[in-house]
Symmetry: C2
Subunit: 337 residues, 2 copies
């Protein structure tokens, strides 16, 4: 196959930031994706309906395409029933960050058992829970150590829909298959890189993200689950722009920027493994079924032709370096209708 | 104890580079160390007696102290017997790099079994072999995967003195104890940091080195061996200056610069664990016994008093950022005679 038509691709985990950076990066997603799940880790966090609706308006104003729906999320805290009732129709779910686990997560949760009343209400009201699942342990063990918490929540709240965000380990893939209410997103980079690409040769800040890329056997397990269109797995880019000054420096921020090239690179990857037919499920159908959403119709044709990834994306006074900067991909988005 | 007197501290693994960088960093070692083993991975490598003697002269000219001996090493290649006979009195040993394993190692060895004639001659002539022991595998496994090669060499050439340079794993500590002809150096940073300090929070290029810092249990095993003055273990800083432009950038070079603060920081570390009495063995006596060397007499008094590590060392048009830049240590070198 030299071409594939994708219907309404979805990015189930996206950072759009705010202000000028948001204005730069939002069109780079809305051009090719029909919808995206918008992370709420701004400063201060998006943890009330008023700020969520205002953020949604700012995103909508920055969109480059009319055919795009931002699926909004609240930042997890202990909410009252009244707050959840009011918010429910405006959100896809609530995102939980362990305090301090990643960028702008200082307001996150310190102990899961203290917030179980909110989990209980979410379960009863059918509001999904999305989780950044890392402990504060040794960097290569953080996700694995968190899996027991996922398992605890999946068992204790069997009707609560729980998404393990941006999984990076074979152990997480295993766990995902064991509970019906556990699903997961995976990024582009974790299907491609390992810690070797971050710190095995020269140190590469542009591939440094949280959770950090793991071992070859982890990448292999994630890739196989994606290629097979595992019904519990969804694409979530976790595309996370940082200004150049925060990346090429001493003490570099965590995040890989992939939005503008994600679909082309995924097509190249799935084609390489002879699994192009499964890309539609990974990029949209699984998410539609798991969250019960019907995205806006957007037809994206991806073709086997050269695509030179720009060395940088610039605008609104911002500069962001993408993954594969300056490299030539074999596949390109050739038509969007 | 608030003070310790060290006799002839030795740095058994040091990079002095060449040209202007050499002029900046050499005095920062020769001030406090009585001698140091000089790595030969220049471009081109120091792999003949003529270039070795010329390099030694350049180092001597750059010395800040008369009381300092550079212990020279040849870069491993297949040498003739005549070459080894001629070089023997001028070198402490020969340093083997697997090709491409670290900075300027492209000329290194591709297959150990192809060079056994040289090992055999070195064994017979009593010339030690120093090894950068890493495979080209996954970054966290490279040293562990190389241990079988150390074991093979230690068994096959039982009289060849083999130093496992800059060990970073508990497995290497274990192996060191099992063969009389296997000894090791360990750096300052690998007694203190893990991968968490390099990539667990923000990415820190100034703590990125090869071999990369490993897991907490590895650091613990290295630290205990050092604190106990394990008779097979020697201090080797692997202090490796890179220009600032190669560290705070995209694609940062590997190497931590510790020479000017190593002795003070080691005193602080050994004092913290109540093992100051073992510092002399770790910093000099073990190396003297293992290599049969008698270093120049240099008395270095280290005292419990504040030492603010400079934010950078500058000179000769070079800027190098040290470990602990701008931090205050509790111990300082207070007298050198």
């Amino acid at each position: 196959m030299n071409e594939i038509t994708l219907h309404s691709p979805l990015d189930m985990h996206l950072h759009l930031r705010d202000e000028e950076m948001m204005k730069l990066v939002t069109p780079l997603t809305t051009e090719t994706f029909s919808g995206a799940v918008i992370m709420p880790n701004l400063v201060p966090p998006v943890d009330n309906l008023k700020s969520l609706l205002a953020y949604r308006e700012r995103i909508t104003a920055a969109q480059g395409s009319d055919v795009f729906e931002p699926y909004m999320m609240l930042f997890f805290r202990q909410y009252t029933e009244a707050e959840l009732v009011e918010a429910k129709e405006h959100i896809l779910g609530i995102k939980l960050y362990p305090a301090g686990a990643t960028t702008n997560s200082e307001a996150g949760v310190k102990a899961l058992d203290a917030v179980e009343p909110t989990f209980k209400m979410m379960e009863e009201m059918g509001i999904p829970l999305m989780v950044h699942g890392e402990t504060h342990g040794f960097v290569m063990d953080r996700e694995k150590e968190f899996l027991a918490s996922y398992e605890y929540l999946a068992k204790k709240f069997p009707k609560l829909q729980i998404t393990m965000e941006h999984i990076t380990t074979a152990d997480a893939v295993d766990l995902m298959g064991r509970y019906e209410n556990l699903r997961a997103t995976v990024t582009l980079q974790h299907l491609i890189i390992t810690l070797d690409d971050v710190a095995g040769g020269m140190l590469n800040p542009h591939l440094f993200c949280k959770p950090i890329a793991k071992r070859p056997e982890d990448r292999e397990a994630l890739l196989q689950a994606a290629l097979e269109a595992n019904p519990s797995l969804m694409f979530g880019s976790d595309s996370a722009p940082h200004p150049l000054s925060k990346k090429e420096c001493c003490g570099c921020a965590a995040g890989v920027f992939t939005s503008p090239l994600a679909i082309a690179r995924l097509a190249q990857l799935f084609d390489k493994h002879g699994k192009l037919d499964n890309l539609q499920a990974f990029l949209s159908d699984n998410a539609q079924r798991l969250y019960g959403i019907t995205p806006l119709e957007k037809k994206v044709i991806v073709s086997k032709q050269a695509f030179v990834v720009p060395a940088a994306y610039e605008g609104h006074g911002q500069t962001v370096i993408p993954m594969h900067a300056g490299e030539t991909l074999d596949w390109a988005v050739s038509s969007i209708t």
